[in-house]
């Protein structure tokens, strides 16, 4: 049975329509990351599910029950807000216990449950503190503990790592998946960091322009984004998009980049002259001093060694700037100047320029 089922949710504000028909089915124990650029309505979606905002149209089913019109206190979800939203006048213990007091649990049960979840999140030593005496990291763990304390079947997490420092965020990214899986709950996890989404989610639901543009497992989304907009959201530096028009030759499909002729996957021979976007991930570009078959000439404009990779800024002969990245920073011979770039035609992504949809053309 689906734990969370959203049917064509729409929601608009005075400023415009935020959600234009969002549908999703999440199974028991699954972690679904709702990912998208900021301001796209991810938080609104969580608020609709939690019942603190009213939807315009659509239906929400939680644990198989239609809760579209149910008040928030009857929905039985656990939630952690981005700004933590701890109760300032209650200790961390009472904050965490608040979900249990609502259902009239006895003091000893509350104590046991709070202490259990506090131990999991390593905040046992600050349980008697008021929120203002907690560090940001402790606040964030308290908020998470509060969301999980009552063993809810459904947990909603609104960018819980947004307001914590980089080190803690890194640690939590490693800890959270096992923690959430241990709880057995179905989790909707909102984030605007694609790496976080890929590290934590069983599936990622990409929210673009008021709809889920794609819902799939992380590697599938990275390797096969449904559209240009999804492809753009994953990867750093983001994907290079080069406008091309394929031609059919006797050797198969080709196109022209910066004056050079480059082979494409066979399928594009069928639609010569169609305006396409060639999507090249920076790491799939191979830059070399030597000309080779299917390479195109570029100018290396800048070389930026980052910690685990080197990013190259290239310019093609028709003036387009693209990024390439190479593993490691050891290649100190890399200098600005003329070079040749090559890519594996079977791994290149090709999109229809007009609709933005990806054309299945890979090997």
């Amino acid at each position: 049975m689906a734990q969370i089922e959203l049917r064509s949710l729409t929601k608009s504000y005075k400023t415009g329509k935020v959600l234009k028909g969002v549908s999703l089915v999440a199974e028991q124990g699954e972690i679904v990351c709702v990912f998208g650029p900021s301001g796209v309505g991810k938080t609104v979606l969580l608020r609709l599910i939690a019942g603190v905002e009213e939807l315009d149209a659509g239906a929400i089913f939680l644990e198989g029950r239609d809760v579209t019109d149910a008040p928030p206190e009857t929905r039985g979800v656990g939630i952690a807000f981005q700004n933590f939203a701890l109760f300032p006048h209650m200790t961390a213990f009472d904050n965490i216990g608040s979900a249990l007091t609502a259902h009239g649990a006895s003091a000893s049960i509350i104590k046991a449950k709070v202490e259990k979840v506090a131990a999991l999140l390593k905040i046992t030593h600050v349980l008697s503190h008021l929120p203002r005496a907690l560090s940001n990291g402790q606040k964030q763990r308290t908020a998470l503990a509060r969301a999980l304390a009552a063993d809810p079947k459904i947990v909603l997490l609104d960018d819980p790592l947004r307001n914590v420092d980089a080190k803690l965020r890194y640690e939590m990214r490693l800890e959270l998946p096992s923690l959430l899986r241990a709880s057995g709950a179905t989790v909707l996890y909102v984030t605007q960091d694609y790496k976080e989404a890929m590290a934590i989610g069983d599936r990622i639901a990409v929210l673009v322009d008021g709809r889920f543009e794609q819902i799939a497992a992380p590697p599938a989304i990275y390797r096969g984004p449904a559209s240009v907009s999804v492809a753009r959201l994953f990867g750093d530096p983001s994907i290079n998009l080069i406008p091309i028009k394929p031609k059919a030759t006797k050797d198969g499909a080709v196109c022209e980049i910066g004056g050079a002729t480059v082979s494409l996957a066979e399928i594009h021979a069928a639609t010569p002259g169609r305006s396409l976007l060639l999507g090249l991930r920076p790491e799939s570009l191979n830059v070399s001093d030597q000309q080779a078959p299917d390479s195109f000439p570029v100018e290396v404009m800048a070389v930026t060694p980052l910690n685990e990779k080197t990013v190259l800024l290239l310019r093609t002969h028709d003036g387009q700037e693209i990024f390439a990245s190479e593993a490691g920073v050891e290649n100190e011979t890399r200098q600005p100047g003329p070079a040749f770039a090559r890519f594996d035609a079977t791994r290149a992504l090709v999109f229809d320029e007009a609709s933005g949809a990806r054309i299945e053309g890979r090997a």
Partner: protein, 285 residues
């Protein structure tokens, strides 16, 4: 940052002393006067040094004044009791009515909400007699004339706008997410209101309540028009007292001291919130 010359410091000191003298001397003088017999009061030149007597206070408290002409009844303690009753019940009622309304205006944007809130605010600025004079005729007609209930009702004009607008600001300062978090955890709206919203707005509610109490206590014109002698608070009662007792200056001073002490004490207690309250939340102290 500021370098002050000794000369400037002396000038500042003198000015501050002058300001304190002007604003505090009247209170001090009346306070001293309240411990003097009529003979001491009438002494020329007036003196700061005298042997204090508590006769004025004892005669106010016992309600009996022994004069050469015989025993005189004083109703002043009754006025003091009226002030306590009217002010505290009015504020209690205004809190019961005003705090939920303040919450509604802070949390919900419902049709007409702003219009209603501003109408309530405008009561603070309308000429009180405009309402009071016709109201006195109505009260006579429906029997609310000269009753505590009628007075307490009218006192809402003072207390409600104050409580509404100050407490509203405090409710608006609470992040809605905090309340949502409590509701999602399984608590009803009412539980959230009483266990989250009210405790978090408590400083504002306390400040508004104290201020409303002070303003109710200090009000003069409402009771002047709507209350007869046995329902009058101290502000009106003291005036009647002056007319009735004529030359009992020591008692008048003692009556004034008793009448202003509660508000002055409360003001010192609440001074942290006074700026905010006096400006109806427009200026934070």
């Amino acid at each position: 940052m500021e370098h002050t010359s000794p000369f400037e410091r002396i000038i500042r000191g003198v000015l501050i002393a002058a300001v304190l003298l002007f604003f505090l001397f009247p209170i001090l003088w009346i306070f001293l006067m309240s411990f003097q017999t009529n003979e001491q009061v009438l002494r020329i030149p007036p003196s700061l040094f005298f042997s204090p007597t508590t006769i004025n206070y004892t005669s106010l408290v016992t309600g009996k004044l022994q004069t050469a002409a015989g025993s005189l009844d004083l109703a002043f303690m009754r006025n003091l009791g009226n002030s306590v009753l009217l002010s505290s019940v009015s504020v209690a009622l205004a809190l019961v009515l005003g705090v939920p309304a303040a919450y509604a205006f802070a949390r919900f944007k419902f049709p007409l909400s702003e219009d209603i809130a501003f109408t309530l605010l405008s009561f603070r600025f309308a000429p009180p007699l405009l309402v009071l004079l016709p109201l006195s005729l109505y009260f006579q007609a429906i029997g609310l004339d000269d009753t505590y209930i009628g007075l307490i009702w009218v006192y809402q004009l003072i207390a409600l706008p104050l409580i509404l607008w100050i407490v509203r600001g405090y409710f608006e300062d609470i992040s809605p997410d905090i309340e949502y978090a409590y509701r999602i955890a399984g608590h009803s709206w009412l539980q959230t209101f009483t266990r989250i919203a009210i405790p978090l707005a408590r400083p504002g509610i306390a400040a508004a309540g104290l201020l409303a109490f002070i303003f109710c206590w200090n009000n003069f014109v409402f009771a002047l028009i709507l209350a007869s002698a046995d329902k009058q608070p101290v502000t009106v009662g003291a005036l009647a007292f002056v007319t009735a007792s004529g030359i009992q200056y020591g008692q008048i001073a003692a009556a004034i001291v008793l009448s202003v002490t509660p508000t002055l004490a409360l003001a010192l207690f609440a001074q942290r919130y006074l700026v905010e309250g006096l400006s109806l939340g427009a200026v934070k102290g």
